[in-house]
Each structure stands twice: as C-alpha cells, then as structure tokens.
Amino acid sequence: MVRATVLALVTIAAVGPIVSTVGAQTTEAVAIVVHPDVDVDNLSLDQLRSIFLAERQYWEDRSQITLLVRAAITPERDLVLSQIYSMSGDQYRRY
C-alpha cells in the first residue's frame, strides 16, 4: 500500500479542511489542504516553500508528500510561482 499523502493547492471555493492560507493580498484567496490522515494543522510559508521546492518530501510520520496543484491556467499557478517559489515561469521550468 502506498502511504503517500496529499498536499493540495486549491481555490478556497473548492476546499475541504483548510490548513493555512497564503496570498491574502490577492483578490482570490487560496487554501492549502492536506489529507485528513496527516497530522498537520498549520504550515508556515517557509515550510510550504520547502515542500514545493522538494527540499522536504516526507511528513513527520515519514509518509511521503504528494503534491496536487491545479492547472497552469488557474490563478493558483501565478501565486505559487511568486509567493512560494519566488521564481519566474522560466526559472521554475528550469528548476
């Protein structure tokens, strides 16, 4: 059985349990959602960044983190690039 658990970035209108929100200055709030089995109820921006940069690939219980992010045409992509990756689209692709 794969123990991978999911970290998803979705618009707030589509969320389940909200763990943390980022990008409050944007017109559309974004929520970070984790699988209910994951014992995480708060993530700082640096923690989120370490996950998205693949520096952190495991939760504390050693289950693997699997990222789910909506399509590039959605507003979340721009927010993730600017707020979490601090990268341009070109630099992200190279990364």
């Binding site: 520096e55 990222l67 399509a71 341009s88 630099q91 692709r93």
Partner: protein, 350 residues
C-alpha cells in the same frame, strides 16, 4: 538531484491537464529529453560550422515506495561518428528527508555546477560548462561510481544538507570514472555540506572534499585531495555563480608534496524585465592554474584563461537560443576568439 526534481514536478503545472501530480496511479516511468544544435566560428584550430550537440534522455522510474531509478544517456556527435554514454544510472532508496542512499553512477557532488546542471545544455544559462568542470575534465572527476548518501534538514532555517560517498574514483584515464572497478585498492571518498536557506530561494553556499589515490600517466600513484567552495544565487535576475577548487597531489613514493592547482569561475546573468523577459545576458570569467611543478597535471597543458559573454533568448517554453562570444587562452597557444550559436531544447515526456 535537480533533474530528478524536475521530472517529478514538471507535471504539476503542465498546462493541458487539470488536477495533476504524482500519485499512486501515475505511470511508473517518466521520460524527458534534451538536445542542442550548434554553429561555431573560431580562431582555434578546430573545425568550424554546424555541429550536432548532445542528445540526452532521462528516465525516472518509481520502482516501489521510496525506491526510484534514474537514468541518463547521452548521444554525442563526434568526428568519428556518434558516441553513446551512460552518464548517470542511480537506484535510490529514501528513508527520510535526512537520509537517502543511492548506488550507481553519479555526477560527483563536488562544488555546485557539477551536481546541479547536468547533461542538457538547456538547463544552464551558458552554451557550455566552465572549463574547470567541463565534461571530460581532468581537473575534477565529473563522474563518480559507487554509493552516495544524501539528505537535509528541510525544516532548519539554514536549509542544511549533505552528501557523502564512497566509490571507485578515477579510471586509468583520469578524465573518466572507474566504471569497471577501481584502478587500485584505495576507494575514493567525497563529502559535501551546503546551506540553502529556504527564505532566500536560490541562495546556496557549500564546501566539498574529495579524496582518492589515482594512477598517474607515468604509472606512479599519487594521493589526490580536492577542496572546493561555492556561493551561488541561482535565480534569473540576478544569477550569480561562483566556485573555487583546489587540487593537491602527493606522490605515494618520492619527494613529498608538489604544488597544488587552482581553478575558479564567476558567472553572472540577468533576465531582463517586462517585455524583454525572454532575454538573459550573461558573462563569465574563469581560470585554471596548474603550476609547472605539478607532476600529474602539468604535462597535460591544462592552464586556461577565459572570458565569456553571451545572450540567452527563450522564444518558447522549452526552447533556448544563445549567442556567445569567448575570448580564451589555452596553455601554449595565443589568445583566441570564438563565436558560438546554439539552439537547445527540452522534450518533455510523460
């Protein structure tokens, strides 16, 4: 492991799919390709004109939970035909973020460039690697066959990480890794520590150490010690890469130490803002200094001074065009000028 990360994450923002990512139902194998095509004008005594570059294939397979395979194969155009090389082949098991162990053929984790920008020139800003770390370099062993453990403390503010390895070291041809075994009974060791503060994306400082006993061209043996430090801000605006490496050789028999060799480079780049964001000018200054009394390297005429200036233009998502001027002096030759034009691209797979 940047290539591996790219492979895992490239699907996340793939524009034609909806909710995507790495899941248990994903294909077990992902593939990617890189290629480049070049044109050269030079004062060097080399053939000019169009040149096939290097075609590179990456394959990443999730074998089991925590167990992955990564392979990299290159096809390079040469005067005598095409050569096929297994550049990297690694089986890795992840115990945690702190401890991952791999076996196979690696890019030696010494310095920054060699362990970050792999085959596939699209990945790097310039047309080619710095002289000190070019593929086939005799100064630094670019490939390493053996075991490597690596990990990091992703929750630490400094983003501390490490790599340690034990392997075969250089082959009898010191430009090659010991793919068929060690040339002596002394394994090579490599260790690297780095800090990658998570709050400053792209910043990394680190230090590396490599130790081996190599077989010199006169069949004598020498202990080799390589010390390297690097400080980089690997971003688009600005990009600043700086590395320094010292290589010491001590003959196993004979009259003690011989002078060490030094090599360094500094590369800067800056992607222009706004409507010109497809354009990234860059420049690099580099040097390889081998003293005349260096018994291992000096006969190989490795001294080098180079100034590189170029422009990278990205007209498409996975296409880069470069125009690069080089002003170089190779040991024993007059200074020369060269002009390179290159198209490099990525073939993103499933």
């Amino acid at each position: 492991m940047r290539g591996l990360r790219l492979g895992l994450l490239v699907a996340v923002f793939w524009p034609t799919v909806g909710l995507v990512g790495q899941t248990a139902d994903d294909p077990a194998v992902r593939v990617m390709g890189f290629g480049d095509f070049n044109y050269l004008l030079t004062e060097l005594d080399r053939p000019e004109g169009f040149k096939m570059g290097q075609m590179v294939g990456h394959a990443i397979a999730n074998i089991d939970e925590g167990l992955t395979f990564f392979g990299e194969i290159s096809v390079t155009g040469k005067d005598t035909g095409y050569s096929i090389e297994v550049e990297r082949a690694q089986v890795r098991y992840d115990f945690s973020d702190l401890f991952k162990i791999s076996a196979g053929r690696f890019h030696t984790p010494v310095g920054y460039w060699n362990a970050t920008f792999h085959h596939g020139s699209w990945l790097q800003t310039s047309v080619a690697r710095p002289e000190m770390i070019k593929f086939g370099s005799r100064l630094i062993p670019t490939h390493f066959v053996g075991l490597v453990a690596e990990g990091g403390l992703p929750t630490s503010p400094l983003g501390l990480g490490y790599s340690v390895g034990m392997g075969n070291g250089r082959a009898a041809n010191i430009a090659r890794a010991g793919d068929a075994g060690d040339v002596n009974d002394r394994p090579a060791f490599v260790a690297k520590v780095r800090s990658r503060p998570i709050s400053i994306v792209g910043l990394e400082v680190g230090a590396s150490f490599y130790a081996d006993r190599l077989l010199a061209h006169d069949l004598s043996e020498a202990n080799e010690r390589i010390y390297a430090v690097h400080a980089v801000l690997d971003r688009d605006a600005p990009e600043i890469l700086a590395e320094y490496t010292r290589v010491n050789h001590d003959p196993v028999t004979g009259s003690g130490s011989i002078p060490g060799s030094d090599a360094w480079y500094v590369q800067v780049g800056y992607r222009l803002p706004g409507a010109y964001s497809e354009v990234k000018p860059y420049a690099r200054v580099e040097q390889v200094i081998v003293p005349s009394g260096e018994d291992i390297f000096a006969p190989l005429a490795m001294n080098y001074d180079g100034i590189v200036a170029g422009v990278r233009y990205d007209p498409g998502i996975f296409l880069a065009l470069r125009l690069e001027y080089r002003y170089e002096q190779f040991e024993g030759l007059e200074t020369t000028s060269s002009l390179y034009a290159q198209a490099s691209f990525v073939l993103a797979g499933s």
